[in-house]
Symmetry: C4
Subunit: 234 residues, 4 copies
Amino acid sequence: MSKYTYLKEQVYEANMEIPRENLAIVTFGNVSGIDREAGVIAIKPSGVPYHKLRVEDIVLLDLENQVVEGNMRPSSDTKTHTLLYKHFPSIGGVCHTHSTYAVAWAQAIRAIPNLGTTHADHLTSAVPVTEVMSDEMIQRDYELETGNQILDLFAGGKLNYEETEMVLVACHGPFTWGKDPAKAVYNSVVLEEIAKMAYLTLHINPSAQTIKQGLIDKHYFRKHGKDAYYGQGC
Amino acid sequence: MSKYTYLKEQVYEANMEIPRENLAIVTFGNVSGIDREAGVIAIKPSGVPYHKLRVEDIVLLDLENQVVEGNMRPSSDTKTHTLLYKHFPSIGGVCHTHSTYAVAWAQAIRAIPNLGTTHADHLTSAVPVTEVMSDEMIQRDYELETGNQILDLFAGGKLNYEETEMVLVACHGPFTWGKDPAKAVYNSVVLEEIAKMAYLTLHINPSAQTIKQGLIDKHYFRKHGKDAYYGQGC
Amino acid sequence: MSKYTYLKEQVYEANMEIPRENLAIVTFGNVSGIDREAGVIAIKPSGVPYHKLRVEDIVLLDLENQVVEGNMRPSSDTKTHTLLYKHFPSIGGVCHTHSTYAVAWAQAIRAIPNLGTTHADHLTSAVPVTEVMSDEMIQRDYELETGNQILDLFAGGKLNYEETEMVLVACHGPFTWGKDPAKAVYNSVVLEEIAKMAYLTLHINPSAQTIKQGLIDKHYFRKHGKDAYYGQGC
Amino acid sequence: MSKYTYLKEQVYEANMEIPRENLAIVTFGNVSGIDREAGVIAIKPSGVPYHKLRVEDIVLLDLENQVVEGNMRPSSDTKTHTLLYKHFPSIGGVCHTHSTYAVAWAQAIRAIPNLGTTHADHLTSAVPVTEVMSDEMIQRDYELETGNQILDLFAGGKLNYEETEMVLVACHGPFTWGKDPAKAVYNSVVLEEIAKMAYLTLHINPSAQTIKQGLIDKHYFRKHGKDAYYGQGC
């Protein structure tokens, strides 16, 4: 039995949330997790439908994308996940879905503005969207460059990956992350909901604006940081 | 065994309607109930996912927000609930959700106009929306001030809390109430449906108007008051 | 045991399709059926939630709205059903729902144009919408006048109730009918779907037009009349 | 026992995906499959609700639309399926649904533009839409002419049926195909999702454009052709 079975189980469970939460149809989407000490990443195999996925199908790789354990080909998006783990040192899970409303914002190449407290409970910024990828980057090493675009966006926009745990890749769809695989998927669930709420809000009132900074901070910091009083403190 | 077990059970059951009726994702939303004679309020603990919630987790407080029974931290929205119980003396339950269409109207800072009989069966007014909260109120005592904004809206708009059992808090979402916790959640289910119907109506006919007063009264009073003939009279 | 148990069972089953097909929330909606020889109508009792409804709760009335059997109060919409049975002699069931998209068109006071073959498979006309009711009619005998408005619409528009088995009551919602209670509910399911399709179509192409008469007739008459070749001929 | 039981079972299973995936209500939709060596097509019988459909109800026909086996009338859309099998020699299954968003685009008589990678993962072109059928064609042999319109569209638009496995028939709805009945239904599931995503995208950003050719090719060819690296290579 693999010494990484616990990690495979975590990643398996997180992947199975994708169909349960209607975050993607058929085989779309993938979740990974990392054992930071061992430098081992576990990820969904490529193109496997969720109802056929088994714990033992989860593929293990190192941070250079070399397979460590498993007989299946890893997700075609693996290099994007790996790059995020390398540059976002405190994250433990990454999730990529094709959830409908988040994809629509990504295809519209529009950041999702922070229009209410459901959004502000989870992040202070808009949900940012990358630039459209250049032809050179597409041809070079597409999935690696997808990761580079996310890193460039966070660097250029002075975004903190620990406070903004989600991004839209232009013309493609969302990536989310968090302290573990379960939190990464949780963020995809939240993102889809705020993407839908923002869509509807702007169709009721096209001039709806980002809410005031005081309200954003109040909601974000009642859930995050040392003065948080939401939840059970665990 | 607690002498308030019956109240905890009522409040537990009402909270479990939130995921069943798709009124909120993950841990969002909370329902409370009150024993008026004892002055005891029962409410969902903060940040607990519904599939893990147990009857014994429901927290008991007095009207000054002091915990009377329970090991968990109460909902972060507790002070809003308490204030409503203090000022709306005939209500027995309060419900707060982040249901998608109701939140969209709240984020759009638009009252939901009374566009048809589904709405008029439940309230004669529009579903009112509060003002955006001032920075001073946000910083002072946020959840208490949320309650104050609802009270001010009802006082200023000459709204009767027994006839209009729902409100939208601007940039946030809905609160509903009723004679008991079950009725409070029922009103959240109805609100989400009329919020969706109003959204669609105005996208079919942008000049749709509030229906005539005679039709509003006919529908409201066939369900409410001494001449009601809807239902089984119980 | 009632000699009309078969009718109560048919009507019970048809009513239970309303929540199964998501045609209405909580207690909204009602289906009736008629035994033409006996002149007996069976209908849902008023205000009973579907998960509590039992076969024996179905109320029996005559065509003058007098209760023949049953301890519960019949649907508050009973007089609308009765009037339709009186004037549409070949129908055996009537269904009223508050399904979301059909209600939105009714609240928008817009007929649903015949935009495609899903619609034309079921009716050749638009789904018609009544006038807004006058204050005099509302005050006189509301549910009876709702029926009168439907009859006036069909008479004035030269609509054939056997070819157009559905209508939108302005500011209220849909009524549908058919040869038996099951067909009446089936028509409500179809109506909700074509109401949604028409909504979306006009939001993709605001100048979408009623399809050509030849295509309407082709689809309608491959399913209806002596030359029909859809289905198994039963 | 029929020597084509394996084919009937495949076609039965593929048809049952239609209600499971919410691709059509009531009896709408139909899937067929072909045994190329025997020249035998299996298809859903006309007008049968899915919950009553049985393996033995699947009808067998030859390529001239003559029934080879089965007591029921085949789908009224049979001649469209047959014509596609005749002219698209490598396909093994055809699926027709009335899925909501795909129908809306068909009723709007608008091709679905390729707005993102979910679309590009499956086809490089837009989802094409036929011309509105002439009155002469409607009256001649409607279902055959529906097939002819698809063939004309592919010939005129220089579309490759192996790369574009889906089409919208104007004012009607989608047809999809693939190497077997299961793949044909899979394509209907994907089509409904990209139809919804495109609808939402254009309502967030009305000037959203077809994505760049390099991105289309990257996504399409990582899943298709000799250099594909998505999936498990089977």
